[in-house]
């Protein structure tokens, strides 16, 4: 709480001297030692600390990698492999950085879903949430820039696809595109600026993280009940040692998962094509972004239709960026007075639906949009022919033998005939991604605004303290 009185007492002369001039120890003490924190934070609340560790790991390993990396198209691929082969412990540091990007996103998604579930974006924490959204945007930019640096096939062609998105913007699009690339194509100049920006952005993230923590410490933590702290004595405990040890435990468990990837499957989260050196003349068969960007990629590809004068390509870009933009509006879209979904029985169901929608969108993003999710019926064979009189016709067959026989008969009779597969009607990934995209936006733009006005909350406690007592005693203790 911003209002809470500082409990820091300088013990030595030096501390006192410093405290009068730059009260930095006092700041650290009040923010991370004695900060009153709700007693009832569960493990979902440890991901903030985990994310701080992720950022530190990425910056430290990144600075080290930059000591050995060469940002030119002829040498980038080889210099990354040189790090893996010749630099002492380079393989370890590079694997950590590469897996670290994925772990960072894994943690940030859990952190965001936690915020969504417990209503951590609501007053008085709107600015906290907005700063978090800014961090998320910066993270996506940093990850995209970093993915280009090894200069593999996915680096080059992925960058190409993403930069081409900007070309969809009317009037200024092509100008922006060539400004970003610094030329007619993604080349050496692009790689060098991407490297520079990839080094810069993490420090901007760190800066926004400081604002994020500041904005957290003004209203204090939200908690699973969504009730604000009413009685500091009964509702809170000091951050240290209670939450340092709890966060510490969670961080180490997280590091175990991290280490499993680093040591046993460093490449499993990436794409094998990125170990083929970039070749502007050959595009990989499937351009797929890293897993953490898949939902947004699925939304982009789900828009295959024009709306009025807006063409599908531009519309896809609008929807993709809209999917992030809508997060910025969330504090004002959710009309419910109750923060935590624990006490919102209907909203809770929609929330779980939203989580599933995001995961299904990831699946769609990784799949070919034309592939069937559920196939309805068998593929059929169609023989199209033009007979000697010039009359065209088609016949559909279930079995191959009669189809081939019919084709051969037509050919023998002087007609031209060809055989093709007619795909069975199916529910395809495109359809799934369109439905899930619709749900994604409906969740923010319709469900949360309307539900907040109509839903009847259930079982909300009066205070944090009361909810804690409720754990042990099924009958709610009388409010104190």
């Amino acid at each position: 709480m911003s209002g809470h009185e500082s409990t820091y007492k300088p013990n030595t002369g030096i501390e006192k001297w410093l405290d009068d001039r730059l009260p930095i120890i006092r700041l650290a003490h009040d923010s991370f030692v004695d900060f009153p924190t709700p007693k009832n934070l569960n493990y979902w609340y440890t991901f903030g600390g985990i994310l701080a560790v992720c950022l530190a790991i990425q910056i430290i390993t990144g600075v080290v990698l930059a000591m050995h990396y060469t940002a030119t198209v002829n040498e980038a691929f080889g210099s990354v492999e040189r790090i893996m082969r010749d630099v002492p412990f380079g393989w370890l540091i590079r694997n950590i950085h590469m897996v670290g990007a994925s772990m960072f996103f894994l943690a940030v998604y859990v952190h965001m879903f936690r915020g969504l579930y417990y209503g951590s974006y609501k007053a008085p924490r709107e600015v906290l949430w907005l700063l978090g959204c800014v961090i998320f945007l910066l993270m996506m930019a940093t990850a995209f820039l970093g993915y280009m640096l090894p200069w593999g096939q996915m680096s080059l062609h992925g960058a190409n696809v993403i930069i081409n998105l900007f070309g969809a913007i009317p009037l200024v699009g092509e100008g922006i595109q060539s400004w970003l690339m610094g030329g007619p194509s993604v080349g050496n100049q692009t790689l060098q600026r991407f490297f520079s920006l990839h080094y810069l952005l993490p420090f901007m993230i760190a800066g926004v993280v400081i604002l994020h923590i500041w904005a957290l410490h003004v209203p204090g933590n939200n908690n699973p009940t969504g009730k604000e702290v009413q009685d500091v004595e009964k509702d809170t405990i000091p951050f240290h040692p209670y939450y340092t040890v709890k966060d510490g435990f969670a961080i180490v468990v997280f590091l175990i998962i991290f280490a499993v990837f680093v040591f046993y499957a460093p490449n499993v989260l990436g794409h094998a094509d990125n170990y083929i050196e970039a070749n502007p003349l050959v595009t990989p068969a499937h351009i797929v972004p890293e897993w953490y960007l898949l939902p947004f990629y699925a939304i982009l590809r789900a828009i295959t239709f024009n709306i009025g004068p807006i063409e599908a390509k531009l519309l896809g870009v609008i929807f993709m960026f809209g999917a992030i933009a809508v997060l910025f509006l969330l504090p004002w879209l959710d009309t419910s007075k109750v923060k935590s979904m624990r006490y919102r029985p209907v909203a809770k169901q929609f929330f779980f639906g939203f989580v599933v929608a995001c995961l299904l969108l990831s699946w769609c993003g990784a799949s070919n949009p034309d592939d069937p999710v559920i196939s309805m019926g068998e593929d059929k064979l169609v023989v199209s022919y033009t007979d000697v009189a010039g009359i065209e016709g088609t016949r559909v067959f279930e079995e191959y033998a009669p189809a081939a026989q019919f084709r051969d008969e037509q050919t023998a009779a002087g007609a031209t005939a060809s055989l093709a597969v007619q795909a069975a009607p199916a529910f395809r990934f495109l359809h799934l991604s369109q439905i899930m995209t619709a749900y994604y936006f409906a969740y923010f733009l319709l469900i949360l605004p309307i539900l907040g006005l109509r839903e009847r909350p259930k079982g909300e406690p009066d205070s944090i303290h009361q909810s804690i007592l409720g754990h042990d005693a099924p009958a709610a203790a009388p409010a104190e």
Partner: protein, 313 residues
């Protein structure tokens, strides 16, 4: 913990999805029946004798078309490499590595004092000799197909799980159907090679284009060459590399019988090493790190329980 279940279901679906975007129609690659020694958890290591034999296969067979520009001869004698010896911690001094390098004549990157190119025997610090002076020459010599560099080929195939790249090499090298190829005279009087399939619903004849070879593990689309049911086209596609490892293609120095699968196994393991020469170090460090982290988490758990023991939460 109610939040957990849908998340788990979703993660499962995602894992499914991530494996679903496999390369177009190629047969799923498989390793040897007993699995790869280096993929064993918790600390599997490469079979160094197999890697040595694999180097022999590379040297005598693959290297005539495929370069490995990220490797130097010294790598062979470095820790984790096939010819490492405790006596020579500096691979540059390893006589075996020196001898292997000296067998090869390379173009010195530095010209002589008159500016003329210098050809000399390689030294351990030199990179593997490339079979062609440039990509154009490589393509011209191979009917327009560029033999890929093999330095990181095991990382560039499969989906990143340990051993998938090696399995691809193993499957590809043993997967040719050369024993099934029949020949007939085509309409233009030239010989046409074809393969007859009769495997469940995949019934028909696959015509092999001239200069290309069918392999079920090679990513591609065989539809245009297939005269059977187009809904059941055989797996895989055609590649410009002919079958390379007939029985006895190399004579192993250590006397191992050079069967096709033995050579494929060895060369796959050599390429696995080459793609990630520090994997031995990675695997040796893995177990201590995991043990440390698990112990630390246990300590923290008890610390946490102790600190929170009097706090209702």
């Amino acid at each position: 913990m109610k939040l957990f279940r849908p998340l788990l279901v979703g993660l499962g679906a995602m894992a499914l999805g991530l494996t679903a975007h496999a390369a177009g129609g190629a047969k799923h690659a498989h390793g040897p029946d007993e699995g790869w020694p280096f993929a064993k958890v918790p600390a599997g290591q490469l079979d160094s004798e197999s890697v040595q034999r694999g180097f022999q296969v590379y040297k005598e067979v693959c290297s005539s078309c495929h370069g490995m520009k990220l490797l130097s001869y010294r790598n062979l004698g470095e820790k984790g490499g096939p010819f490492y010896s405790d006596e020579y911690p500096n691979a540059n001094d390893n006589p075996l590595v020196k001898a292997i390098a000296a067998e090869v004549e390379i173009l010195d990157p530095n010209p002589d004092e008159n500016g003329d190119p210098v050809y000399r025997p390689a030294i351990p610090a030199d990179t593997f000799r490339s079979p062609y002076p440039n990509d154009q020459a490589a393509m011209a010599a191979n009917g327009g197909a560029m033999p890929p560099d093999l330095s990181v080929i095991t990382k560039a195939r499969g989906h990143g799980a340990e051993g998938e790249g090696a399995s691809y090499i193993y499957s590809l090298m043993t997967g040719y159907k050369d024993d099934k190829i029949k020949t007939k005279v085509g309409e233009d009087g030239l010989n046409v090679n074809y393969i007859e399939f009769d495997d469940g619903e995949t019934v028909g004849t696959l015509t092999q284009p001239t200069g290309l070879y069918y392999n079920p593990y090679f990513a591609g689309d065989a539809t245009p060459q297939w005269d059977g049911d187009p809904r059941h086209v055989p797996y895989g596609g055609f590649l410009a590399m002919a079958p390379q490892l007939p029985e006895g293609r190399v004579e192993y120095i250590d006397g191992t019988e050079a069967t096709t699968s033995q050579m494929a196994y060895d060369v796959a393991q050599f390429l696995q090493w080459a793609g990630d020469p520090k994997q031995g170090q990675r695997k040796s460090l893995a177990l201590p790190v995991m043990i440390y982290l698990v112990l630390l988490s246990i300590l923290l758990w008890f610390s946490y329980k102790r600190i929170w023991r009097n706090v209702a939460h």
